[in-house]
């Protein structure tokens, strides 16, 4: 817009109203002076009454957060470019803790950790709720065990390492093993929930990624219609370390808004190893003592307090209303039964899951999905290593038919992997071993899934039934994929009512299994074996 064009906001009546709101009383501030600025950190003299985590404002409008409160100076991390802050600047207290203004209109937008939109679509409107970035997790009495499933749409995960709403499931693996893809597929799979009117709101937090990567991710989500219920919080590689450190907390704060208003949310931290690095950077410049791998002593607390905020809130309204540490803006608006699921991502170096940060986060979360480079290169995608992937609470959240059908799949697959390793040495095999191996290989093929093609849970159950009940015994290994496609088409066209809808409702009996077997025979006939 040309600079001298009149904007809608410049109507005299509105201007008059704005002028009336301006407070022209003498301004009272508590101030300090910048003594020293180093990369992303300012040391400030004065500000005697400042509180920990308080937001500070420099004379040119750059914001900072007070982190180190020492006897004669305050160490603050800058939320803007370092070069804008000079020694000798005055700083004032704002009296607010660092927080993000959350609004429903943020859905579909890309924002930075302070809530400022960075997608060039103008400012965000709607009713704002000021959610503090740092907030205590809900106490024991305000939680309930995980009971509802969060369907990722990936057969391998929903069958073997199921995730429940309110769970924290770590996704861990080397670079280029498909960690982000799993989470993107999970977001895309929530489209059905959104269309059905009970959405799972998704928050994708990108930490220290390339701007181009974030842009292409947003494009993918848009393409599949998933942006309507998704918020992307991005602190890119070029942003100050302070923003990269705060980004997951901003994501958690947005998620908490949905959680505490009785809705379901999913937050993805991609990835926490980069956040740990950003926090290490900030801590070292703040001259906090370094520990192992130069990380500060509270690096465990950094992640544990973040991941504890993922929770399933108790279903009793009168208890939920009493929740601890509720922000002022949410008082009276709390609804019971909401949940916040967290999927943190950790990148390992050369498959080393016993490094410092990975072990920390593994011990905090309720299970992990380990992605293997070798499997990925073999074409097993998602490249989930079944042996060391677990979900500690998700089993309770699986729907009944899935439990019935895939209950033994995980152990079977793990056994198969072990057997397979042995048979590589010799050629002779007894019939039982050969059968186990054949079944295992076909199941592995069955669990392979193309990118961005999530499968609904009822279809997953039907196809996995074929695998676990030996219906694939006569299908050659290279035809498994064809079989799956044909089988699913047949189900969709001929058995939708009596099989798919029944499974969706949670029913699974002999009648349904015989129908599945019938469909499997038809599919087998079609692929000509």
């Amino acid at each position: 817009m040309p600079e001298n064009a009149i904007k809608v906001s410049e109507i005299s009546e509105l201007l008059k109203k704005q002028l009336e709101q301006i407070d022209i009383n003498v301004q009272y501030d508590e101030i300090g002076e910048v003594l020293e600025v180093s990369d992303g950190v300012a040391r400030i003299y004065g500000l005697t009454n400042v509180g920990a985590n308080e937001l500070l404002e420099f004379e040119n409008g750059v914001m900072a957060i007070a982190m180190n409160l020492e006897e004669d100076n305050v160490g603050a991390i800058l939320l803007g470019p370092t070069y804008l802050v000079k020694e000798g600047f005055t700083v004032k207290r704002t009296g607010r803790v660092a927080s993000i203004n959350v609004s429903e209109e943020m859905l579909g937008r890309v924002i930075n950790p302070l809530g400022v939109p960075i997608d060039g679509k103008g400012s965000i409107g709607g009713e704002f709720f000021e959610m503090p970035l740092e907030r205590k997790a809900p106490g024991v009495i305000f939680r309930q065990p995980v009971s509802e499933p969060l369907q990722t749409g990936l057969k391998a995960i929903d069958a073997m390492t199921p995730i429940g709403r309110g769970q924290r499931e770590l996704i861990i693996g080397d670079r280029q093993t498909g960690k982000t893809s799993i989470t993107v597929d999970t977001i895309i799979n929530q489209l059905d929930n959104f269309k059905a009117g009970h959405p799972v709101y998704c928050i994708y937090v990108a930490i220290g990624q390339k701007g181009s990567t974030v842009a292409s991710l947003v494009n993918t989500l848009k393409e599949y219609g998933a942006m309507s219920y998704t918020i992307v919080v991005a602190a890119n590689a070029s942003d100050p370390a302070a923003l990269r450190y705060l980004a997951p907390y901003a994501g958690a704060a947005i998620g908490e808004y949905f959680r505490d208003t009785g809705r379901h949310a999913l937050v993805i931290y991609d990835d926490l190893s980069k956040q740990a690095v950003a926090y290490r950077e900030v801590s070292l410049i703040l001259r906090r003592p370094p520990g192992r791998e130069a990380y500060p002593g509270d690096i465990f607390y950094l992640h544990s307090r973040l991941l504890e905020r993922a929770a399933k809130i108790i279903a009793q309204q009168e208890v939920a209303e009493q929740m601890n540490d509720l922000p002022e803006c949410l008082k009276g608006k709390v609804k019971a039964g909401g949940s916040l699921t967290a999927l943190p991502i950790i990148e390992t170096q050369a498959g080393d899951i016993s490094a410092y940060i990975p072990t920390n986060v593994i011990s905090i979360t309720d299970g992990q999905i380990f992605l293997d480079t070798d499997l990925f290169n073999e074409g097993v995608r998602p490249a989930i290593n079944v042996g060391i992937s677990v979900s500690r609470v998700g089993g309770n959240a699986q729907i009944k038919p899935m439990k019935q059908v895939a209950g033994t799949l995980k152990t079977d697959q793990a056994q198969f992997r072990e057997l397979e390793a042995f048979t590589k040495f010799g050629s002779e095999m007894d019939a039982v071993t050969a059968m186990t191996i054949d079944k295992g290989q076909k199941n592995t093929k069955l669990l392979i899934q193309s990118l961005h093609k999530p499968l609904s849970v009822e279809k997953q159950v039907a196809i996995l039934y074929c695998g676990t009940h030996g219906l694939l015994a006569d299908v050659p290994l290279d035809k498994v994929k064809d079989f799956e496609d044909k089988f699913l088409t047949i189900l969709e066209y001929s058995y939708k009512e009596e099989v798919l809808n029944e499974i969706k409702k949670g029913n699974f009996d002999d009648k349904i299994s015989s129908l599945i077997e019938e469909a499997a025979q038809r599919a087998q006939a079609q692929i000509g074996t």
């Binding site: 201007l15 301004q27 009272y28 005697t48 803007g80 001259r287």
Partner: protein, 185 residues
């Protein structure tokens, strides 16, 4: 590391040592000059931190920044700081010394910034009312700055009352620019 503790211990020690020699006022005057040197020459801190610089040069530098004339108390103080390799904390020590000095002498520093000179009478009135407020003796530092257009800015210790016209205009500017692209930073 508790860096804050270092400065306050040195400052406390210096004050007590100086008052044994009844020199705390002289040291105070020197410290004021030193404070100014630090704020006018931002490189001073960097230079003092440089481990390559010879000790003698650092000493000379500090003496110059102190105003050129050193008494026995300050001389010993510089020696102590250089011996313990704490010259990097000198600025903090200086600021802390001033705080300690004000506290012991029951003083309060008041900075008054006005756009144009005001009459003796109204100035006295203002100062008297501040005196009643803080119950301390005042050291008034007056500055005339046409940039604030009108009104006054008053700083008492850590607290600032800003009644200047420039700030109010700024506020109006900010309010009107709210939500526009120019306000992103």
């Amino acid at each position: 590391m508790k860096t804050g503790l270092i400065a306050s211990r040195y400052a406390q020690a210096l004050y007590e040592f100086a008052s044994d020699y009844k020199m705390e006022d002289e040291i105070y005057k020197g410290m004021k000059i030193l404070e100014k040197s630090f704020s006018l020459n931002r490189e001073l801190n960097t230079v003092l931190r440089n481990p390559l610089l010879k000790r003698e040069l650092k000493k000379q530098l500090i003496v110059t920044a102190y105003g050129g004339e050193v008494d026995i108390v300050f001389e010993r103080f510089i020696e102590l700081i250089l011996n313990n390799k704490r010259e990097a904390y000198l600025q903090n020590i200086v600021l802390k010394y001033l705080d300690v000095y004000y506290e012991h002498k029951n003083l309060c520093i008041v900075k008054l910034k006005i756009a144009f000179p005001i009459g003796q009478e109204s100035e006295k009135k203002l100062i008297d009312s501040i005196k009643k407020l803080v119950l301390k003796d005042l050291i008034v530092e007056k500055e005339i700055d046409p940039k604030i257009i009108g009104g006054f800015i008053l700083e008492i210790g850590d607290v600032r009352w800003d009644g200047s016209l420039a700030t109010q205009l700024n506020k109006i500017h900010k309010k009107l620019m709210e939500g526009t692209f120019l306000n992103l930073n």
